[in-house]
């Protein structure tokens, strides 16, 4: 009897079980040690957490672009980080101009809205162009081919922008009204962080409403479920795919401006690479193809990245913990995929695709 039970258990399962246990224990030890040494004040934790939330909401906006396209085409648009870059990079010049003529400081809200619209317009056009030139001709090719095309498109965009605007770093101007702090739960938080967070959440809610309630959104869901049947129902597949790319592009463009408000420095032609990879991680974390999953995955990744090094690694006595920030982000991805291979919100996807 015992032998039969044992023979049904595979070694991989045992290994994964042990791995899960060890990971959980290590994380708990790290947390415990950090809290017992009490090296950091609660203000400092709050600083990290709110910055992490703002960063996470930017990741989430970019992640939505990955997830929307994946949901419809089952293809990973690796050039999406570059779509984010094109918006952020072109808008920095408009922001600098607005600052020079005083518009940015005199009516900041209007100016920021114009910046977001401009950035979204640039990113959307690039995303639509990319779909038309790079992906549509390969619609029926094997899945590996558009993936490689995406990497090529990513390089093409990076170096086009380097050619257009040079390789120097630029920075978004400081905006006086966003300089203050806001008292949240007794902590003074730089105003810009909750503003970015709330604006991003607003956009995500709007997207959710768009996908769930509008006709185009309904069509998108139909195409994502079954292209052939959707076509039989009279849905113009090409138009829906283009609007999906446009939607993802617009969100990425907005994320570019939010990033410029939250962290003005370091705008240059390679700025999209790392956020792109991180947002892809966030999309997988939440369950790729799933819209609320991308949102939660982004926020979670932002928080883990911000808090992880000081919270877990320092407690474990690992030196230079801050340098392992990226390692932590990807380690968490591995852990979550071991615990839940389909991602946090992955089940609904599985149902939908079944």
């Amino acid at each position: 009897m015992l032998r039969r039970t044992l023979s049904r258990v595979s070694w991989v399962d045992v290994f994964l079980r042990i791995f899960q246990l060890v990971a959980a224990v290590v994380i708990l030890i790290g947390l415990y040690k950090t809290f017992t040494t009490a090296r950091y004040s609660s203000e400092q934790w709050a600083t990290l957490a709110f910055a992490g939330l703002a960063q996470g909401s930017i990741y989430a906006l970019i992640a939505l672009g990955y997830t929307l396209v994946y949901g419809i085409l089952l293809m990973i648009n690796f050039a999406h980080g570059e779509i984010y870059m094109t918006g952020a990079f072109s808008t920095v010049f408009l922001a600098m101009y607005f600052n020079r003529i005083g518009f940015l400081q005199s009516s900041p809200v209007l100016a920021i809205i114009v910046l977001i619209l401009f950035s979204a317009a640039v990113s959307t056009s690039i995303a639509v162009l990319l779909e038309r030139i790079a992906y549509r001709p390969l619609r029926n090719a094997p899945r590996l081919i558009p993936l490689i095309t995406a990497i090529g498109a990513s390089f093409a965009l990076q170096y086009t922008f380097r050619g257009l605007f040079g390789s120097q770093f630029r920075a978004y101007p400081d905006i006086a009204v966003l300089k203050g702090t806001w008292n949240i739960l007794g902590f003074d938080v730089p105003l810009v962080q909750p503003v970015v967070f709330l604006a991003a959440v607003l956009l995500m809610v709007a997207l959710y409403w768009f996908v769930e309630r509008t006709k185009t959104g309904k069509a998108m869901r139909a195409v994502s479920e079954d292209k052939a049947v959707a076509r039989l129902m009279g849905i113009d597949i090409d138009r829906i795919i283009v609007s999906t790319f446009a939607l993802g592009g617009a969100l990425a463009g907005a994320a570019g401006v939010f990033n410029g408000l939250f962290r003005p420095q370091g705008v240059f032609f390679l700025m999209g690479f790392f956020p792109g990879i991180k947002a892809f991680t966030a999309a997988v974390l939440g369950g790729i193809g799933n819209i609320p999953g991308a949102m939660m995955g982004g926020l979670l990744l932002g928080l883990i990245e911000a808090l992880g090094p000081n919270l877990i690694l320092e407690g474990l006595g690992i030196p230079a913990a801050n340098q392992l920030k990226d390692a932590i982000a990807f380690l968490v991805l591995v852990l979550i995929l071991i615990f839940r291979p389909q991602g946090i919100f992955g089940e609904r996807l599985a149902e939908k695709k079944a």
Partner: protein
């Protein structure tokens, strides 16, 4: 063999010997140099190369040094009857870039000498190929101590007019301890040989003066979120944070230090890697009041130089190493003038070992950056041309350069 043939042959030999003795011009220059020579034919230019970081985030450093070289060459259009041709490679301020640039330059046997690199990391990677090829390189801004230390990576053919980190790190620490009254300090580097060595010298000097170093950490090149490391720094609330790194990581640290609780009273200080005209504007308003250590050159000859810069390049130099590049170029040209053998038809023969020996023998060279004397490992800087600068509102609004507030 017939008698007549022998006599004609010997006659010819004697005649040709006599002709050679009288004519002189036909006598070929002979290379007796241990590691080879460069022959520059009449009418051909003398070939110098640069390896500087002329693209990317640190391009201001490269443009600055390149301008210094151009001004020097503009001063000396004629070297022993030849013009000077300048070609160059981008060293990208990285080991990979230095490797590529060094290999490419070393493969061109017409190159006599090189001005470069800017970044110490690139110099370590480029030097083996350059040294092997018998060339010499003179750096305007390498500051890592190892480059002129036979134990640390020095190879024959390496020279620099830039100040060794041993000077700059010490001056920064003395300024922090004596002038600012700081007693606790934290340092951050970016893993580059330049930043790592500089913060180490700073920390050692600061500790030797009686201060306490609370934290020595690092960030990755490419990191954008510095709050985690700043929170670690803030846990000890040090009096001063010294981060001798580059843009844009320096921009992120400067800007984000304003947000981290516990950093309110910490003085920010950087070094010459951040002494670039783009730095204040790219960092935002928290940069006001920040200190930077870096090269400082003054005097009437320097004012002349600036006037020439405005004429040849235009504007003002974007960073602090132009004068060092100018001195490097002039030292190399002086050395060429002193060792080149001149043929009567205008051909030049430059012995590579002789050229290196002449560079090493440089003593009391009257340069923009002071009186330069090279030691046997190519360290030619005086260490005097240094100061501490403070960034003010004026620099944030596009003014450059900042005023020097303290000199050792």
């Amino acid at each position: 063999m017939s008698k007549r043939f022998v006599s004609i042959f010997s006659l010819l030999v004697i005649a040709s010997m006599a002709l050679a003795a009288c004519g002189g011009g036909a006598a070929p220059l002979e290379c007796t140099d241990a590691i080879g020579c460069v022959e520059v034919a009449a009418g051909e230019p003398i070939h110098l190369a640069y390896m500087l970081t002329v693209s990317g985030a640190t391009a201001t450093l490269g443009d600055d040094s390149l301008g210094g070289i151009r001004v020097a060459l503009n001063d000396r259009p004629d070297v022993l009857g030849h013009t000077v041709e300048l070609t160059g490679e981008d060293e990208g301020c990285s080991a990979e870039g230095g490797q590529t640039a060094g290999t490419k330059v070393a493969a061109d046997p017409s190159v006599v000498a090189i001005v470069g690199t800017n970044c110490s990391g690139a110099a370590f990677a480029a030097l083996p190929a350059i040294s092997e090829a018998g060339m010499l390189m003179c750096s305007s801004s390498n500051t890592n101590p190892g480059l002129t230390d036979p134990e640390g990576g020095w190879l024959p053919g390496y020279y620099r007019t830039a100040h060794n980190d041993k000077f700059q790190g010490r001056i920064a620490a003395e300024f922090a301890y004596n002038e600012l009254g700081a007693r606790t300090a934290a340092t951050i580097h970016d893993g580059s040989p330049y930043a790592q060595a500089l913060q180490q010298v700073f920390a050692e000097t600061f500790a030797a003066l009686g201060g306490t170093v609370t934290f020595q950490g690092a960030v990755n090149v490419g990191d954008t979120d510095m709050r985690a490391v700043l929170t670690t720094v803030a846990a000890d609330t040090p009096d001063i944070l010294y981060y001798p790194i580059f843009e844009p990581e320096g921009n992120f640290i400067t800007a984000q230090a304003a947000e981290v609780a516990g950093m309110e009273n910490t003085i920010l200080m950087g070094a010459d890697g951040l002494l670039a005209d783009t730095f204040p504007e790219n960092s935002g308003e928290n940069v006001v009041g920040m200190y930077l250590s870096g090269p400082y050159v003054t005097g009437a000859t320097y004012d002349d130089f600036l006037a020439k810069w405005a004429e040849v390049i235009g504007g003002v130099p974007p960073s602090g190493f132009h004068a060092f590049a100018y001195d490097c170029t002039n030292m190399i040209l002086d050395a060429i003038e002193s060792v080149a053998q001149q043929g009567s038809d205008g051909t030049l023969l430059i012995g590579r070992q002789a050229l290196r020996d002449a560079m090493t023998a440089t003593a009391g060279f009257d340069g923009l950056t002071g009186s330069l004397t090279c030691n046997e490992y190519g360290d030619c800087a005086t260490g005097e041309a240094l100061a501490v600068f403070q960034i003010t509102e004026a620099e944030l609004n596009g003014g450059w350069p900042p005023a020097a507030i303290w000199t050792p």
